[in-house]
């Protein structure tokens, strides 16, 4: 048991964050200019709107070895493109639910709404997500396991 805990501490997860250009990416910028730190293993991909994020991007990230994927967009109702994040909300609600149905840990995926003014929140969200994933451990279920039975 002791060994497991130490091992988990060494593990630094790889996190892919998709951020919409208008709110969350700006929120991340604000977190930066406010010097609100979060772990370096969070890497942000800028998309015009959270509705640009195709489930395949999320799955691709897991396939390539990401341990957690988080999507950030404008708060519902504040979408720069009026309705984009409403679609995101439905798509991701269904997708994440489905992944969990297939046995993927529900904590591995997350959607958070972060406005351009919420630098503090962006940092808090990322810290929390990294903490969750670190506790959860490596992504084994959705990673690329090219293992064969017997041979």
């Amino acid at each position: 048991m002791q060994e497991v805990t130490t091992k988990k501490k060494e593990f630094t997860p790889n996190i892919v964050a998709f951020c919409c250009n208008w709110c969350s990416y700006a929120g991340a910028d604000l977190a930066g200019s406010s010097r609100l730190s979060y772990p370096a293993n969070v890497k942000i991909i800028r998309v015009p709107c959270s509705c640009r994020v195709n489930p395949t991007f999320v799955l691709k990230a897991f396939q390539q070895g990401a341990d957690g994927v988080i999507l950030c967009g404008c708060h519902p109702g504040d979408c720069h493109y009026v309705t984009g994040n409403y679609y995101t909300r439905r798509r991701m609600a269904l997708l994440f639910n489905f992944l969990n149905y297939m046995g993927i840990e529900k904590e591995r995926t997350r959607v958070e709404w972060v406005s351009a003014a919420e630098g503090q929140r962006f940092s808090a969200v990322m810290n929390d997500f990294v903490k969750t994933i670190t506790e959860l451990g490596e992504n084994k279920r959705l990673t690329d396991l090219r293992v064969k039975e017997g041979e």
Partner: protein, 348 residues
């Protein structure tokens, strides 16, 4: 001839498994396929048609061929075959319970993969395998191996076995078979010739009654290639075809494959996997496709089995009459319908 009581089969499996890998029809998640034997596994020797045929053991659905590591502009190739060969040498394996049709299918595949230039991936696995066949005693309506001259009651292989209510009868045919026999001899007793003969006769009687026993192959000859190719009925035979790969993937002789690259976060893996001539992109090139319609793809498959392959291999058909496609085609199309439409029935 040797025999072993049915109740003691597990001992036999365990004994083989001590020094060799053992693959046999095992039920997992509701379906019977060749899996590694282990204590407590649900062995199903009687299953005539595993969903995936034994070809999977030599020509797996997917196998990694090599890895590429790229650093800047440079490439390093990691050949995975040495590992594969070492593993095969270290632990040769037994394929247990292979039916006559499936064994014949392995011969069909050998002609492709072991012909020069040899496919080394296949060869490594093939050499490591000792094949123990099992005679059929309860053929199904979809079986028609006899049409291709296969005797389901006396399959070939390194070892041939028969199974009745009480015993498994064992007869080694090759050196590999003898070696295996030596390994397990102590478990066996002598005898069984008479029982085997009775079973053979009974099965023969059923085989003759099977609905497809009289398919006529006489028209499927290389000299009829163009005539068969141009037959107008392909259109109607293929109209319900979905273009899926079920028939090709359950087929024990279909050997088409694709070679692809897969990017992982640690480098590129080049793998090969089964491919199907039924797929719309099978022959797709950047500047065209020689098979644009499903009819052409459908025709390719059956022409290959019944004409092209025999033409390249001294008349040997690359269909063994296992009937898997008869059972598994989602829309109920199959080679029997093709043979009947183009060739006819001997009794007609």
């Amino acid at each position: 001839m040797l025999k072993i009581a049915k109740e003691r089969l597990n001992e036999l499996y365990a004994k083989i498994n001590e020094t060799m890998g053992l693959f046999m029809p095992i039920k997992k998640a509701g379906e019977v396929n060749y899996h590694v034997w282990g204590e407590g596994k649900e062995v199903s020797l009687e299953t005539l048609k595993t969903v995936k045929s034994p070809k999977n053991m030599f020509f797996p659905q997917t196998e990694n061929m090599m890895k590429f590591k790229t650093e800047g502009k440079n490439i390093e190739i990691v050949d995975v075959r040495e590992k594969l060969a070492a593993a095969a040498e270290d632990k040769p394996f037994v394929m247990f319970g292979v039916k006559a049709c499936d064994y014949k299918a392995i011969e069909v595949l050998d002609k492709v993969f072991l012909a020069e230039p040899v496919d080394t991936y296949y060869q490594i696995r093939r050499n490591a395998a000792t094949i123990v066949t099992l005679a059929c005693s309860k053929p199904e309506e979809s079986c028609f191996c006899s049409v291709f001259g296969i005797d389901a009651t006396a399959p070939q292989g390194d070892v041939t076995t028969w199974l009745d209510e009480n015993y498994l009868y064992w007869q080694a045919n090759t050196e590999k078979g003898e070696n295996l026999t030596k390994l397990v001899e102590t478990l066996f007793e002598k005898g069984g010739e008479a029982e085997v003969e009775t079973q053979k006769a009974n099965t023969q009687a059923i085989l003759e009654k099977l609905p497809f026993a009289n398919l006529d192959l006489s028209r499927f000859k290389p000299e009829n290639l163009n005539e068969l190719f141009d037959d107008t009925r392909w259109e109607e035979m293929s109209e319900a075809c979905l273009g899926c790969g079920t028939c090709t993937f359950v087929c024990p002789t279909c050997q088409c494959f694709d070679i692809r690259d897969f990017k992982t976060n640690e480098g590129v893996i080049r793998y090969r996997c089964w491919d199907s001539c039924m797929y719309s992109d099978f022959t797709l090139m950047a500047h065209g496709n020689s098979h644009t319609t499903q009819m052409q793809r459908f025709r390719q498959r059956f022409m290959h089995k019944l004409v092209y392959y025999p033409s390249q291999n001294d008349g040997l058909y690359s269909c063994v009459g296992c009937g898997r496609c008869v059972n598994k085609c989602p829309q109920r199309l199959n080679i029997v319908k093709v043979i009947k439409t183009l060739g006819g029935n001997k009794n007609d």
